[in-house]
Subunit: 419 residues, 2 copies
């Protein structure tokens, strides 16, 4: 029996790869002062239907539970976050800097970079409407990728601002109510024939060349986005982004800065995407709370592909994977009559926090040393006829020392602490 | 809109509590040389139906997906583990020592210690049929709880062996085919009226007093369990267990040692339970693989209740929760004209791995120090008119030093490394 299509088993080496990614995510998010939260894997169906309309609803793993409730596996984090924040926003100092690392579920057509169960990091900053907050979040997205050994040669943040298009539309005499239809044209313009785009734009009283001109000269696209880019440059993060007004993001709820991150080679899907959604908490909480907010999501699948395709990053990951299951100490039983003493020593070493293994029955000494090497042990401790004296062997250097069993724990826990 | 009944939101402080539990689980499992694996949250329905028969099937969150597949959220880990091991058992050295920390889903009646989505640690040891392996696993279960600050005063492992009952049955002239029915009587005997139990036992040609005598004198219940307890004593873990033959575990697939762990006060449900299931991999893989195996599960809900009710353990947890979101350094902007330099310094400190926060806009200096204290910062760095000189304040001692901005990163990352 196999896994369902689009679902993954994580064997220990896969799990170590996953841990490399999620551990790095957590570490960098915490450097930015973000704290972790989470919600349920299963939620009421309406929670997701309300935000996305039909967009995501067609991809939901939804069903009726044994109590007759219409429920769904979560396809994204934002509705859960908005519910949580709305319920208790007064309990936390602003701004909230919250992140989560969680599994999501979408019934999508199987294709490269898409799975039906995937991991995603979500970082959201709530309670600050200033461009400085947009810059802080964009900088976090950049540093998250840098932490994997990826550089400005490997990826680029494509920054945009919906307000630039709103201003463009206003100059054409259109109100914000037409924005969604117009942005849908921009969103698809790179994928549709020029005539189709031209025809659609005509409804808005403008031509394709005019739109292309606007996109080609984005320097002063919006005053807010200029402050974001200036801020990023002050941090030394110039070179990691481009202004690209073709990025508008599909979802209706974005209100300001939006961005997507791509590999420089443009062979993969987006690595991350997000933006500012100042009205969403208000909308999803039926007005119970109102917080300006922005956030992004970063999935594990495309990121894993980019890491695998980038030698520097791949080496970092594989080194981490190779050593993930390593133990500190292998206790070799050289004399079976001392097995009881060996067990007590194993216990003491583990109590000191060391990772320890040993043979659970009689095994030739040569084979025990082989096991020690395979387990990546730094030290082997030989328990034999010299008891209460033992031999401590450092496996990398093959150096050997003799000491009393009492001294071993202190000796080895001090060396392990500096590893 | 609320969570579904039996499901939880994890606000940052709840998430820190969860991380305290799962982080401790992972650390102790690794001390024992166990490596982490995982499987999908959603699996084919038959995977779970096959193992448990009707037992768990009534509690499944099951449905038909958009592709017409009968699927279920996982209610337990063992079937997934058995599938994974059966598919690739030749790729790994024996014994396999595997653990996972994952979410499970059961549509159960709401009651104390029971949720519909819960976390569980699963530890399994596959490929070793000796009692030494049983002891290794039982020792791990004990050390997992000790790591939370729980002692032999707080919990007890109730050890049993199904083979003891098989031998008892054999003496009564019954074969192993009657074992399941007989063990069901033992399983319920503490909860049913004596007459009911007596009547059921009569079918097996024995009386309640005879069964009670057998339970009361378990010392030589089975030669294997005696070797397990001797082994545990050699590790210094005597006093953490009792032989209790009333423990038989509900599931049909156990073949040898079984155990459950309870709080000493017996006010809570079981903290953990497991045992040896030597035939299950063979059965679930339709004979594709055959490995002796044993394992246990430990949930987060009951454990959390015991920790909360045990002062020593509760203090450990709450200390960890209180400091979980602490930052290392707060960069205070004392002079807004130096904001650009402050941002660059923030970036350098974060690049060095430090957790750093700062105000995203103009704030009075007194208020900035208040933010630094609330964020649990060890140091505040003042960026002001003295630039490129800065003041570094250690918040606990209120001591202040002046140094050049260039020197701050090296200075603070060295102090952070020893924390």
């Amino acid at each position: 029996m196999k896994t369902l299509p689009g679902f993954r088993d994580f064997y220990p080496e896969d799990c170590a790869r996953r841990e490399f990614i999620t551990g790095t995510w957590r570490e960098v998010a915490r450097r930015y002062g973000f704290v972790e939260y989470d919600g349920p894997v299963l939620e009421p169906f309406e929670l997701f239907a309300k935000k996305s309309g039909g967009e995501i609803a067609g991809q939901l793993f939804e069903f009726t539970d044994k109590g007759g409730r219409h429920v769904s596996l979560r396809p994204e984090m934002t509705p859960t976050l908005a519910r949580m924040v709305a319920a208790r926003s007064r309990d936390y100092r602003k701004p909230l800097k919250w992140f989560s690392v969680a599994s999501f579920f979408r019934y999508e057509k199987q294709q490269r970079g898409r799975l039906r169960e995937f991991l995603q990091l979500n970082c959201d900053l709530l309670g600050d409407e200033r461009p400085a907050a947009d810059a802080e979040l964009a900088a976090l997205a950049i540093d998250l990728l840098r932490a994997f050994g990826l550089t400005r040669e490997d990826f680029v943040v494509r920054l945009s601002d919906r307000r630039a298009w709103l201003a463009f539309l206003e100059r054409k005499g259109h109100g914000a109510d037409r924005a969604q239809d117009f942005l849908a044209i921009i969103d698809k313009m790179e994928r549709e024939p020029a005539e189709t785009v031209e025809a659609k734009l005509r409804e808005f009283g403008c031509g394709l060349s005019e739109v292309r001109d606007f996109i080609a000269n984005p320097a002063d696209a919006s005053p807010e986005i200029s402050r974001v880019t200036r801020n990023l440059c002050q941090r030394g993060l110039g070179g990691f982004f481009e202004i690209d007004l073709t990025i508008v993001r599909g979802l209706a709820y974005y209100t300001g800065m939006v961005f997507e991150i791509f590999d420089r080679g443009r062979t993969l899907r987006a690595l991350a995407g997000g933006g500012r959604y100042d009205r969403l908490v208000h909308h999803l909480s039926d007005g119970a709370a109102d917080l300006p907010a922005l956030g992004f999501g970063m999935g594990d699948v495309v990121l894993g592909e980019l890491i695998a395709a980038t030698p520097r990053a791949r080496v970092l990951m594989e080194t981490s994977v190779r050593t993930a299951g390593n133990i500190d100490v292998f206790v070799a039983v050289a004399d079976e009559t001392r097995r009881s003493e060996a067990l007590a020593l194993v216990q003491s070493l583990r109590d000191a926090g060391l990772r320890v293994d040993y043979p659970m029955g009689p095994v030739k000494l040569g084979k025990q040393f082989q096991s020690a090497e395979l387990a990546g042990a730094r030290h082997a401790v030989l328990v034999g006829t010299e008891w209460p004296g033992v031999k401590v062997k450092e496996l990398a250097t093959r150096t050997e020392r003799e000491m009393s069993a009492d001294a071993v724990v202190a000796d080895l826990s001090s060396t392990a602490a500096v590893k």
